[in-house]
Each structure stands twice: as structure tokens, then as C-alpha cells.
């Protein structure tokens, strides 16, 4: 029973839990329930990844209607891997959020908060797993609406304008995706991604298809905050409640990056996107500019959450750069970084949230002297910060290693050098904060305040992520294996598509996928 429905459960579990969490009403019940559900979703996605790694692909026809008539859910190593990261972070953030939320969100809204969190989780899982282009739009909107709500729940009024800007930009992005999907549908008559992939090649040079691709790319780029469409992200991350920022920073944009990968590699085909349309160069250029511009922006901010928000935009540059290299190793670098960056940013934002919990503000000057007052929190921040910088034995180093190796493989020596030079900015923006925490005295005005370490409920999730930062920085076998099979899978599917065009044969239904599976096994 469970195995049979493994693909659909991670979506419907939080989906059904969300209204129940609302009905439960009391903050503590909703919290416990949401955490439990998210933990279950994590276990399920663990199973799902194991199944995907051993069996290749799981296809699930919702409603029993075979694709392309019904909606298909498709799980492969790639999305199962991202899903694992999303559910893991969600669970940890939920554990963390109990106290954090008590401080930052009005008591009346607590159960709404947990409901919205579950809705967001359901939306993100749906985006990852679905194999239907329009269904993706629906889940995108579920997660987006929940996200706007979550951002606007903070007590500072600035969260409202941030959420509004996010809403307008996000809706424009979603509408662009809707236009793109519409154009594809118009030319192919189908919405199933695999079916789309097969039919798009019949109309290879069509202007309509190209426009559709462009609109989907721009729409997704807004959602993943690719420079220069990132303007919504820094205010949203800065003013949202800390638990929300920790969750969003490590999941939402990653899911959007996956959507981009999904469309490029399994729908349009890399030849079409990168060779015919020349997107590779555009993406690469934007990614490099993002790395430099936003890393620089991060060094001049005074609010630590803004610093980390700009850092996130820069890190998205690394993700996009990896996939723009158009190679198995480049894609693998992106997949690994999706996972690793979630670990780093989750830990960093949790640490910052802990500081907010005690100090009530997260300006750099408020970090002065916290190294002594909150040793565990600041140690967590330091280790995760070193990970962002890319110091060896942390996940950041692993990501950077694979990305640079991938660039060098393509003889992109300049890009490789830029990646490394770009990461130097992290030394500055993380260094400023650490220096304030450890080598500045607590201001006189604060010495009377009772600043001490936060409760274990906040520390445990934070440290789980920190330890994961180190563990996966040393034992890279799990991430490497999953990312590698994910990217190989994506490339195989893609090359199958292209072979088909070359041989001129038209494969019906899911024949391509079966072929790809044969090759992989």
C-alpha cells in the first residue's frame, strides 16, 4: 500500500494536514502536529529517494488516468534528492520555530503560521514531483500564496511592503510561466512534460515554442531570484520572521532552480536551449554578474539578515552557473549545491533568528560581544559561515570543488577563476559578523540585559544542520551519489530525446523513458 503510493504521499500528507492544523487551533497542538507531519514527509522522501536510486523512475497516475490525459507524478533521483532536502529543512525549521515564532508572530496567528507552513511545504513538494506543466503552476501558486502569508506575519511593518513586492513580482513570474505553458500547449496539445518533450521536437524551430521557452525561463528566473530579477528577495528575507527566512532561503529558491533544470533538461532539451537559443551564455553571464554584484552588496549591508539574503542571491548565481555549463559534472555541481546551500543557509538564518530572539535586533553592531553570551549560537554561525566561504571539510568546499572542476572540464578557466574570486566576498561579509561577535565588547547599554543562550529547542535543529555541514563536507558519498545519478538521469533522458530526433523515429507514450531506464540499468 505504502510503496504503491509513495510518489503522491509527500504532497498530500502536508496538504491534508494543513486544514487539520487550522482546526487544531491551539498554537502548541498545531506546532506538534505540523512537526510530526513534516517529519513523516521527510521519512517518506527518504524512502522515495531510495526507491528512485534503485528503480530509476516512479510514475504515478493521479486519479488512475494514464498520462497525458490525467496528471502524472514523476519521481526520479533528481527531484527526490531535492525533496529530501526540502522536507529535512522543513522539519528542522518547524522544531526551531516554536520559540522563534512566539517572539516574532502575534499569538493569535500561530496556528495560521503552521497551516501556512504546511501549505508551503505541500506546494513545494508538488512542484518537485509533478510531471504536468500546468499542475506545476497550481502548486507554484499554493506555495507562493503561503509564502506571501508567511513573510507578512512578522511584527515589523516593513514585512508588509516586502510581502507586497514579493506578491507582485511572484505573480508576474507565475503569469509568465502560465503564458509560456500556454504557448507550448498551443503548439503541442499536451501538458504532460514528457509528452511535451516528445512533441516539441516536431516543431523544433518554431517561434512560438521559442517564445514559450523564453517566457518560462523569465518566469522561473523571477521565482528563483536570478539577477537582475532578484529585487523582491532581499526585503522579503530581511523582514520575514526568522524561521520563515530560514525555511524559504534554503528551500523555495532551490525548488525554483530545480524547475529550471527540469524544463531545460527534460522538456526542451539542452541542444535546443543552449545551442539553438544561446541561453547558456546568457545564463552564465547573469550568474557571474549575480555572484559579483550581490556578493558585493552583501558586504555593505548593516542588517545581518540582508547580508545573508544578498548572499543567497549570489549563491543562486553558483547554482545557475553550474547548470549553464551543460555537462554532467556541471549539473551535478548544481544539484550538490542545492542540497549543500540549504544546509548552510538554514543554519545561518537559524543562528541569526536565535540572536533576534535574545537581542531583538540583528544589526551587525548588535552582534558585538555575543561570542561570550551565546557561545553555541555563535559557534554554529561561525561554522556555517566558514561553509559559505568554502573552507575545506565543510559542504561549501565540496560545492565549490565540483563547480570549479566542472568549469575546468569545459576549459572555462576564466569562469573557474571568477567563481573562486567571487567567493572571497564571503570572507568579508561573514568575517565582519564573526569579528563583531568575538572581538568586540558587549556594549555597556546591553550589559544589564539578560542575554543568554537560547533554548535547546532552537539549538538542536541549528546544530543538526551545522553537523550536517561538516558531515557532508567529509563524507560526500551520499550527496555525490544522489547528485550524480540525478544529473546522469537528466542527461540520459535528454540524449534519448535527441537521438529520437536524429533517428527520425517518433516514440509514443513513455517509450523514451523506458529506453532511458534500460540504459541506466
Amino acid at each position: 500500500m505504502l510503496e504503491q503510493h509513495l510518489a503522491v504521499l509527500p504532497i498530500i500528507l502536508p496538504l491534508i494536514a494543513a486544514p487539520l492544523a487550522l482546526i487544531l487551533g491551539r498554537s502548541i497542538f498545531s506546532w506538534g502536529f505540523a512537526t510530526l507531519v513534516s517529519g513523516l514527509a521527510f521519512l517518506l522522501s527518504w524512502q522515495l529517494l531510495a526507491a528512485a536510486l534503485s528503480d530509476g523512475v516512479l510514475s504515478y497516475a493521479v486519479g488512475g488516468w494514464a498520462p497525458p490525459w490525467g496528471i502524472e507524478l514523476r519521481v526520479d533521483a533528481a527531484n527526490a534528492f531535492v525533496l529530501l532536502a526540502v522536507t529535512a529543512i522543513s522539519t528542522l525549521v518547524l522544531v526551531y520555530s516554536k520559540h522563534s515564532i512566539e517572539k516574532e508572530v502575534k499569538a493569535a496567528n500561530h496556528s495560521l503560521f503552521y497551516t501556512a507552513h504546511l501549505l508551503c511545504l505541500a506546494g513545494l513538494s508538488g512542484i518537485l514531483i509533478t510531471g504536468d506543466a500546468f499542475n506545476l503552476f497550481v502548486f507554484l501558486e499554493i506555495s507562493s500564496l503561503a509564502t506571501y502569508t508567511l513573510v507578512s506575519l512578522a511584527s515589523d511593518r516593513r514585512c508588509l511592503t516586502a510581502a507586497f513586492r514579493y506578491l507582485v513580482m511572484g505573480t508576474i513570474g507565475a503569469t509568465f510561466i502560465l503564458i509560456g505553458v500556454g504557448l507550448l500547449y498551443m503548439k503541442t496539445g499536451t501538458l504532460n512534460m514528457l509528452d511535451l518533450a516528445e512533441r516539441i521536437d516536431l516543431y523544433d524551430s518554431s517561434r512560438t515554442i521559442n517564445t514559450g521557452l523564453a517566457f518560462i525561463m523569465v518566469g522561473v528566473s523571477i521565482k528563483l531570484a536570478l539577477f537582475p530579477l532578484h529585487m523582491w528577495l532581499p526585503p522579503a528575507y530581511t523582514h520575514a520572521p526568522s524561521a520563515v527566512t530560514a525555511f524559504l532561503a534554503s528551500t523555495a529558491t532551490k525548488v525554483a532552480v530545480y524547475v529550471m533544470i527540469r524544463f531545460i533538461f527534460t522538456v526542451f532539451g539542452i541542444d535546443h536551449v543552449f545551442v539553438d537559443m544561446g541561453m547558456g551564455l546568457i545564463l552564465m553571464a547573469l550568474a557571474v554578474v549575480a555572484i559579483f554584484k550581490c556578493s558585493y552588496m552583501a558586504t555593505v549591508q548593516s542588517n545581518v539578515k540582508t547580508v545573508l539574503a544578498y548572499s543567497s542571491v549570489a549563491q543562486i548565481g553558483y547554482l545557475v552557473l553550474g547548470l549553464s555549463l551543460v555537462s554532467v559534472s556541471g549539473l551535478m555541481a548544481s544539484m550538490i549545491h542545492i542540497f549543500n546551500h540549504a544546509l548552510m543557509k538554514g543554519a545561518l538564518f537559524m543562528a541569526v533568528g536565535a540572536v533576534f530572539y535574545r537581542v531583538g535586533s540583528v544589526d551587525i553592531k548588535d552582534f558585538a560581544g555575543l561570542g561570550r553570551k551565546m557561545p553555541l549560537t555563535m559557534a554554529a554561525f561561525t561554522i556555517a559561515g566558514l561553509s559559505i566561504i568554502g573552507v575545506p571539510l565543510t559542504v561549501g568546499f565540496v560545492s565549490k570543488w565540483y563547480l570549479v572542476i566542472a568549469a575546468l572540464e569545459q576549459d572555462q578557466w576564466l569562469v573557474a577563476a571568477l567563481v573562486l574570486v567571487g567567493s572571497l566576498f564571503a570572507v568579508i561579509y561573514i568575517g565582519r559578523i564573526i569579528e563583531a561577535a568575538y572581538f568586540q565588547k558587549l556594549p555597556e547599554s546591553r550589559s544589564s540585559e539578560n542575554i543568554k543562550e537560547v533554548s535547546w529547542l532552537m539549538l538542536v535543529p541549528m546544530w543538526v544542520l551545522v553537523i550536517a555541514n561538516i558531515y557532508f563536507g567529509i563524507d560526500t558519498s551520499l550527496t555525490t551519489e544522489a547528485a550524480n545519478s540525478a544529473s546522469e538521469w537528466l542527461f540520459q533522458t535528454n540524449s534519448m530525446l535527441e537521438n529520437k530526433v536524429m533517428e527520425g523515429e517518433v516514440l509514443e507514450g513513455h517509450a523514451i523513458e523506458e529506453k532511458a531506464q534500460e540504459v541506466s540499468s
Partner: protein, 118 residues
């Protein structure tokens, strides 16, 4: 001429979309931005419905003696999309109400003077 007949519908729809899009990104008032967003989306709905139309067809409800129906799938998609649109609108308007209460204004250029909008 047949070229124009084939495409005039889409062109006008594109114009409408862009009118909505322009309102979203140029309007100063937040309510007007939401109006623009709605116009933008409604026009996209028209794009979808246009592609579902079959000349000489009827609404996709089984009627005796009719063989040519318009395509029901775009209709289904747009039903969903309309709901998504109104949901976004409601949240957006709720945000505007709160912004008005918190800042005393809903004009974009007036925030800049008030230190808050990044």
C-alpha cells in the same frame, strides 16, 4: 488577409496583456497595481480560451446531433487559473489594507521618503 484573420485575436490579446503588465509595473498606487495584475491575468485567460475555440464548434456539453465541440481542456485550466487569480488578489488587497494602516499611504513613491522600502 487570412493571415490577419488567423491572428487578430491573439494580437489584441497580446495588447491587452501588455496593457495590464504596464499598469502593474508603472502604477504608483498599490490598488491600481492589483487592478493591473488582474487585467494581465484575465488577458492571459483569453489567450487560453482563444486557442480552445473551434470554428463552428459549440460549448463542450454533450448535445444530441452536435459533433464539433470546442476544446474543454483550456476551459478547465482557466477555471483553475481564475481561482488562483482571485486568491492572489484577495491576499494582495489585504496587504494593501495593512500597509495603509501601518504607513498611512498606499502610494509607492511615498514610501521612499519614509525610510522603509528597500
Amino acid at each position: 488577409m487570412s493571415f490577419i484573420l488567423d491572428y487578430y485575436n491573439y494580437w489584441v490579446v497580446v495588447f491587452l496583456m501588455m496593457a495590464g503588465f504596464y499598469i502593474v509595473i508603472s502604477a504608483n498606487n498599490l490598488v491600481k497595481k492589483i487592478v493591473g495584475l488582474n487585467i494581465f491575468q484575465t488577458s492571459v485567460f483569453m489567450l487560453y480560451i482563444s486557442m480552445g475555440k473551434v470554428s463552428g464548434g459549440t460549448a463542450p456539453i454533450v448535445v444530441e446531433g452536435v459533433t464539433q465541440y470546442s476544446n474543454p481542456l483550456p476551459h478547465v485550466l482557466i477555471l483553475t487559473a481564475i481561482v488562483v487569480g482571485v486568491a492572489t488578489t484577495a491576499v494582495g488587497l489585504a496587504l494593501i489594507v495593512r500597509i495603509k494602516r501601518a504607513y498611512g499611504t498606499v502610494e509607492e513613491n511615498e514610501f521612499d521618503n519614509k525610510d522603509d522600502v528597500i
